[in-house]
Symmetry: C2
Subunit: 317 residues, 2 copies
């Protein structure tokens, strides 16, 4: 194996850095899930993480890794929501300003929470504008330090701590994890080196699958829609993909209808509020997208920041 | 203090008996809850317990305490739902038959789950019939062994293990717990002897409050309605009340509208699915029913078995 840009030692260091700030989320069992899959399944409930998603891990590791002077000049992030909440929350904990570039169609719950955490929100149009160029401009003008949503070694190491916690409790054969830019999927693959790790992405947003197939970073077609607002990055990053190309077992793409069913399953059986993007790995397990029979399986339920209307839609009421 | 029918040693023995079967549920923190109450609040997420409610603890302790011969002749329970699920589940684990007497207006989710666990359901009319006499008749006819929903030393000791787990992680000044017959509230008061424990019950079902006031077991008026289907017992039991009279700090009664708001809060902030009866202690905290300022507070979110329609009602969609 060639040298990867993030190592398990980086993840262990991140675990020390975030300890006492991040929640050690529970690994939940569910008989109905075992019965549906023929596997021994454990759900890592990252929706119970601080800020309602795993993103707190990476944001905390990145911002805690900065020098006090870097932090003091202010933090910048662009995000569909969960990374935004995480960066705003961590910035508040450190007492430094945060500017967050968010799509105008982000769920109300996420916009509200960023503002509640004291973040300054700058909106952009997901189809027309480039959040990267808006971010670059703000960064240059105001001297802010960017915390990228996934393509960053500190962020990947932070997200990897979820996998580290899984590995301290079980030895999974297979891990199913939601994937957008691949930060969580890359970190998980590094922290659970003996598991087959499958990133799961929305149908029509199968940039990870196509990238694995072609061997280079592939983009999604612009303007595609999915209910998985958290999984709309245009492509994996070069760092996440460098890790994923070596470590991912393959990518799975799930239609929105299966994600809605998985949200309802989580409501009925796990008693967890899981957002669409957070439920997609569960959807892959429930729909049999990969054969899990007889395996010990970890599924990451990566976030729970969902508006009431979307949740009611998943419940079918 | 006079000798009580259940001791903390009974609860410690129950903890050993249920270990590896019951979930050690997480104690969740929430900044918004701290801000709303001025306290340091921890939510014991018993909705994540096996079967979706704390009731598994008491049922497991009671059934595991029986002799193999007692168990083999079959188990009987009457319950509005969560105790029913728990007894059916534990009976299945022991491979013995279970007959469950349930009200005809129990939530569909609870009826379905009892049947899914292999329980034989006998329905009764909550207003017209006495579940106790139906249970007594079945017990006599079929030689079944009753596991009472709350008024039983084995059940109370089992429910007390939730408090024992709380006490292993924090030292709460105040505990708010949902109360119907008082099994959980009695067990919690015994396992957390240094805390002020408040049972919380639905407005109009304030049998615990009135019993504490008069010094003897008082009944609710028959036919009263509440959305808290899990909290509709007609009165505390003589055993639970004997404990509560000595140990409870006072009872709080909350209107259904506040319980619905608490369910929404749990959805938005805790990412937990909590049923009405499970959210009532959270409602008491959020509405300031007792002064929590500066205190370390444990709130028990006792269950999450709620139909989609009721949940959507709480979300206001």
């Amino acid at each position: 194996m060639s040298t990867l840009p993030v190592t398990i030692e980086d993840i262990r260091a991140a675990a020390v850095r975030i300890k006492g700030h991040a929640v050690r989320t529970p690994l939940l069992r569910c008989e109905a899930l075992d019965a549906a899959t023929g596997a021994r399944v454990f759900v890592k409930a990252e929706c119970l993480q601080r800020g309602g998603a795993f993103k707190f891990r990476g944001a905390m590791n990145a911002i805690a890794s900065m020098s006090a002077a870097e932090r003091a000049s202010g933090i910048l992030a662009y995000s569909s929501g969960n990374h935004a909440i995480a960066v705003a929350t961590v910035s508040r904990l450190f007492g430094v300003p945060a500017v967050i570039v968010m799509p105008s169609d982000a769920p109300r719950a996420k916009l509200d929470e960023v503002r509640a955490q004291g973040g300054e929100v700058v909106l952009y149009d997901r189809v027309r504008d480039s959040r990267e160029s808006i971010g670059a401009k703000l960064s240059a003008e105001r001297g802010l330090h960017l915390v990228p949503p996934f393509n960053d070694v500190r962020v990947i190491a932070g997200q990897g701590t979820a996998g580290l916690e899984i590995g301290e409790e079980i030895a999974p054969d297979i891990v199913l994890t939601p994937a957008s830019g691949g930060g969580l999927a890359a970190g998980t693959a590094l922290s659970l080196p003996n598991a087959r790790v499958y990133p799961v992405e929305p149908e029509g947003h199968d940039d990870v699958a196509r990238s694995l197939e072609s061997g280079r970073v592939e983009m999604n077609a612009p303007g595609m829609r999915s209910i998985c607002d958290a999984l709309m990055s245009p492509a994996p990053g070069d760092i996440t993909f460098a890790i994923g190309r070596e470590r991912w077992a393959g990518a799975l793409a799930m239609p929105d209808a299966t994600t809605l069913r998985a949200m309802r399953f989580a409501f009925e059986r796990l008693k967890l509020v899981v957002e669409p993007g957070g439920a997609i790995a569960l959807a892959a397990a429930l729909e049999g997208a990969v054969d899990l029979k007889g395996a010990t399986v970890a599924i990451i339920a990566s976030g729970g920041n969902v508006d009431a209307e979307m949740f009611a839609r998943a419940l079918g009421v």
